[in-house]
């Protein structure tokens, strides 16, 4: 929920609405590749895409994506420590 209230959250979702949006099923299909890509190169998923747009609009799909991303990070192990 946005800090400025549910109505403003709704307004932001409306402002971010696209004429055509992918379905939750299509999101489910694209999620594994997207999460791996982000893990390998975060800059590769910066550009807006139908999937990132869906993740902004759909809370349950976004939650699944965030858990998958965190699980892949855990699988990959800790990030290398900063050189001293």
């Amino acid at each position: 929920m946005n800090a400025s209230g549910p109505l403003h959250h709704l307004l932001r979702l409306i402002a971010g609405t696209a004429e055509s949006e992918i379905s939750c099923s299509e999101c489910f299909r694209l999620l594994p590749q997207y999460a791996e890509l982000e893990l390998a190169d975060p800059s590769a998923v910066v550009a807006p895409s139908p999937l990132s747009q869906h993740l902004q609009q759909c809370g349950v799909c976004r939650e699944e994506y965030e858990v998958l991303r965190d699980l892949l990070r855990a699988d990959a192990g800790p990030p290398p420590s900063e050189p001293t």
């Binding site: 307004l11 949006e21 699980l71």
Partner: protein, 217 residues
């Protein structure tokens, strides 16, 4: 938690083993189940709010459901990611759905979904800005939005917007209550947002203007 002593496989080796029958298949199934149990447990621990004694059993159930789902969808795997990443999504999906169900099982959605937002809901949904001028601009935008909801949306669309967006009910719970599916309810919400976007545009609020009034940078 670590997936211990499972065999590393290429995507092709996973598919071959899971479809092979015999000992190779049994070993691959055990390995798959270990991966999915890890994913379900991770999801429940991270997001579920499920009590510890119950978590293990719930994770086991979700992993088992996910194994069945993965096997049923093997032919849908296109090799666009690692097989295990693709399979993880099934377990995470089952685990988060189960966690949401547990969290919302004692909440009645009947009253929420049977009515439209009331005047008190409308007042409660607003959080005024501190700046008086911005507060006025936001109030005008909010009034226009409420009018749009009254004039443009079907009862079903209003109920979905109210539940999922204004009351933060998980989409899955609305799906379950209506005995529908995610795609259908998401489309209902998308159609509602498109109508409201068109209504706001017709009343002078482009997407950029909406963001400006909300003071989004």
């Amino acid at each position: 938690m670590i997936v211990a002593a499972v065999n590393a496989r290429t995507n092709a080796e996973w598919l071959r083993a899971l479809k092979s029958g015999g000992e190779d298949q049994a070993v691959a199934l055990a390995d798959l189940r270990a991966y999915l149990l890890r994913a379900a447990t991770f999801a429940l621990e991270r997001r579920g709010g499920v009590a510890a004694p119950h978590l293990s059993q719930l994770a086991e159930d979700c992993a088992q459901e996910a194994v069945v789902a993965v096997l049923a969808h093997l032919d849908d795997f296109r090799g666009e990611s690692r097989f295990t990443t693709w399979a993880y999504v099934f377990a995470i999906n089952r685990a988060l759905m189960a966690a949401r169900r547990e969290r919302w099982q004692n909440v009645s959605l009947d009253a929420l979904l049977a009515t439209s937002p009331t005047t008190s809901d409308r007042a409660a949904a607003e959080t005024p800005a501190e700046n008086p001028e911005r507060r006025m601009l936001q109030h005008e935008l909010e009034v226009t939005l409420w009018k749009g909801m009254d004039e443009c949306l079907s009862d079903r669309q209003r109920q979905a917007i109210r539940a999922v967006v204004l009351e933060a009910v998980p989409l899955d719970e609305v799906v379950r209550h209506w005995q529908s599916n995610r795609n259908a309810v998401y489309k209902l919400l998308h159609d509602a947002r498109r109508k409201l976007r068109a209504y706001l545009e017709a009343h002078g609020y482009s997407a950029a203007e909406v963001r400006a009034v909300l003071d989004d940078r």
